[in-house]
């Protein structure tokens, strides 16, 4: 027990004894984990951002002049049946007069003596679907419905957003794999270098009869501690970044969207840093004390 406690305390003490090396290693781990963390948070919030963008898609379907309120409702019901559409709101001819008055301050009925405004429907799209919204196809289907006069939309922008989302989702596994692979390499080599810098110490320990396990254990504790210390700083930094991003979103773009950080990300990062640091230390010492 004395021996185990000694080896553990050596791991802690080594971080202090080799302050410069430990600081470099912890800082490298920190930067690497921040990049991984940002990527994980982005992945987590992409869907949320998209849902927000989809909630802002605005499509207005204008009917022919002779469409009655009853017909307007039945056309809206037909539109709602189209795949990808979440809801419809009918604006009948009278509602249109009110909206006109609200926006332009004029009563068009008393001005012209008749109501020239057509009934229309505002269409809202599905927000939660993982797939790209096939916007052009939806518009085409709406246009084919009888008594639909015109469809007004921001098709160019919506298509751009949906295309970008589709591209992102297609490349996400590859990019995340690549980032995690690079993170593993950086952490592994950082820990390895910090062990190599103490090659003489390891040789001296061997000369006084220390077993391989006795030499390895403090390094492994040290590696684990460096991993944990760096993640202790990473999580608050990530929370700070997300809070900053939320503040900018709220004050600059005036949106009510809030980015979230899943606490599980922290567990993932500790696991990633801890396991790789332990592995890096172990492999580095093993290669020195063959």
């Amino acid at each position: 027990m004395d021996k185990f406690l000694f080896l553990m305390s050596e791991g802690f003490k080594n971080i202090w004894r080799h302050k410069a090396t430990s600081f470099t290693a912890v800082f490298t781990l920190y930067v690497t984990l921040i990049i991984v963390g940002i990527f994980m948070i982005s992945g987590e919030n992409i869907q949320k951002i998209l849902e927000y963008a989809r909630s802002k898609y605005k499509v207005e379907v204008f009917y022919q002049q002779n469409v009655t309120d009853q017909e307007a409702n039945s056309i809206a019901a037909k539109i709602k049946m189209i795949d990808g559409i979440r809801s419809t709101t009918v604006i009948n001819k009278n509602d249109a007069i009110d909206i006109f008055k609200e926006q332009f301050g004029e009563d068009i009925l008393s001005l012209l003596g008749y109501n020239p405004l057509p009934a229309s429907t505002v269409v809202n799209f599905e927000r939660n679907t993982q797939n790209r919204l096939n916007f052009d196809k939806i518009i085409e289907e709406i246009k084919l419905i009888e008594k639909v006069e015109a469809v007004r939309h921001q098709g160019y922008l919506i298509n751009k957003i949906e295309k970008a989302y589709q591209k992102m989702m297609a490349n996400f596994p590859i990019v995340s794999g690549l980032i995690i692979f690079i993170a593993i390499l950086v952490i592994y080599n950082t820990v390895k270098l910090s062990v190599y810098s103490r090659k003489n110490l390891i040789y001296s320990m061997q000369l006084i009869g220390a077993t391989k396990a006795f030499i390895k254990l403090p390094f492994i504790f040290e590696g684990l501690m460096m991993g944990v210390i760096s993640t202790v700083f990473v999580y608050p930094s990530l929370i700070g970044m997300v809070n900053g991003a939320n503040y900018i979103l709220e004050s600059v773009s005036h949106t009510r969207m809030q980015l979230l950080v899943d606490p599980f990300i922290w567990i993932w990062l500790i696991g990633l840093a801890g396991i790789i640091s332990i592995l890096g230390s172990y492999r580095a010492i093993a290669s020195i004390i063959k």
Partner: protein, 218 residues
């Protein structure tokens, strides 16, 4: 205690040792002399199994090079104290921690470690310097610290490879005197040196190495 049987070890670009056969008895004090490059360090490295002979067999206590596996080397070294010309003290810890390390390796309880280390520090006359780091000690003090680290575990064999090589004559003389005191407590000692004046006339066995061959005292 130590037996070399037709031991040869050749380095890539150096002589090493060639067909050495000799024994050192328990509680013996022997000197190994020879010029630089004569094979003294190779011979000593063979003794603590840092090198394994290419031919022949080395036996130290209960351990033989024939049956030696890498896992066993650490255990073979536990009964050997080693002193080196360049000290091999751990620069990142103080004198007390350097001397205590072999006892931690052997799993001694904390109370006994403190007692033994204090005794050894007294013996090598470094009391009051427990908190000093190696770079804060003179060459002679570092070598005495190295000696304290070697004897703290009470080994039956002490190997000293050119321990006086970096010391001034007074410090060198004091170190040999310390080794003599340690030998009187029953420790077998082999000390390598190229300084014949330091060891002559002491009445101990002298072995001479020349180009990897033993010339006398086998």
């Amino acid at each position: 205690m130590i037996e070399f049987q037709n031991v040869s070890y050749k380095h890539q670009n150096e002589v090493g040792v060639n067909d050495l056969s000799f024994t050192i008895q328990e509680n013996e004090f022997a000197f190994l002399i020879g010029p630089t490059g004569s094979g003294k360090t190779t011979l000593m490295r063979l003794m603590y199994f840092d090198l394994l002979p290419q031919t022949g067999m080395v036996t130290v206590g209960d351990f033989s090079s024939k049956k030696m596996k890498s896992k066993k080397i650490a255990f073979a070294r536990r009964d050997i104290g080693m002193v080196f010309q360049d000290y091999h003290l751990l620069e990142d810890r103080n004198l007390f921690d350097n001397i205590a390390l072999p006892l931690h390796v052997l799993g001694f309880p904390a109370s006994e470690i403190i007692q033994r280390v204090d005794e050894c520090i007294d013996l090598v006359q470094l009391s009051g310097k427990e908190k000093h780091y190696p770079y804060q000690l003179s060459g002679g003090e570092q070598q005495r610290a190295c000696l304290a680290r070697a004897i703290v575990k009470d080994p039956s064999l002490l190997i000293a490879d050119e321990p006086t090589g970096n010391l001034d004559p007074v410090s060198a003389f004091e170190l040999v005197k310390l080794l003599k005191d340690i030998h009187e407590t029953g420790t077998t000692i082999l000390m390598a040196s190229h300084n014949y004046n330091l060891i002559k006339g002491r009445g101990y066995r002298i072995m001479e190495l020349q180009d990897g061959h033993l010339r006398g005292g086998s």
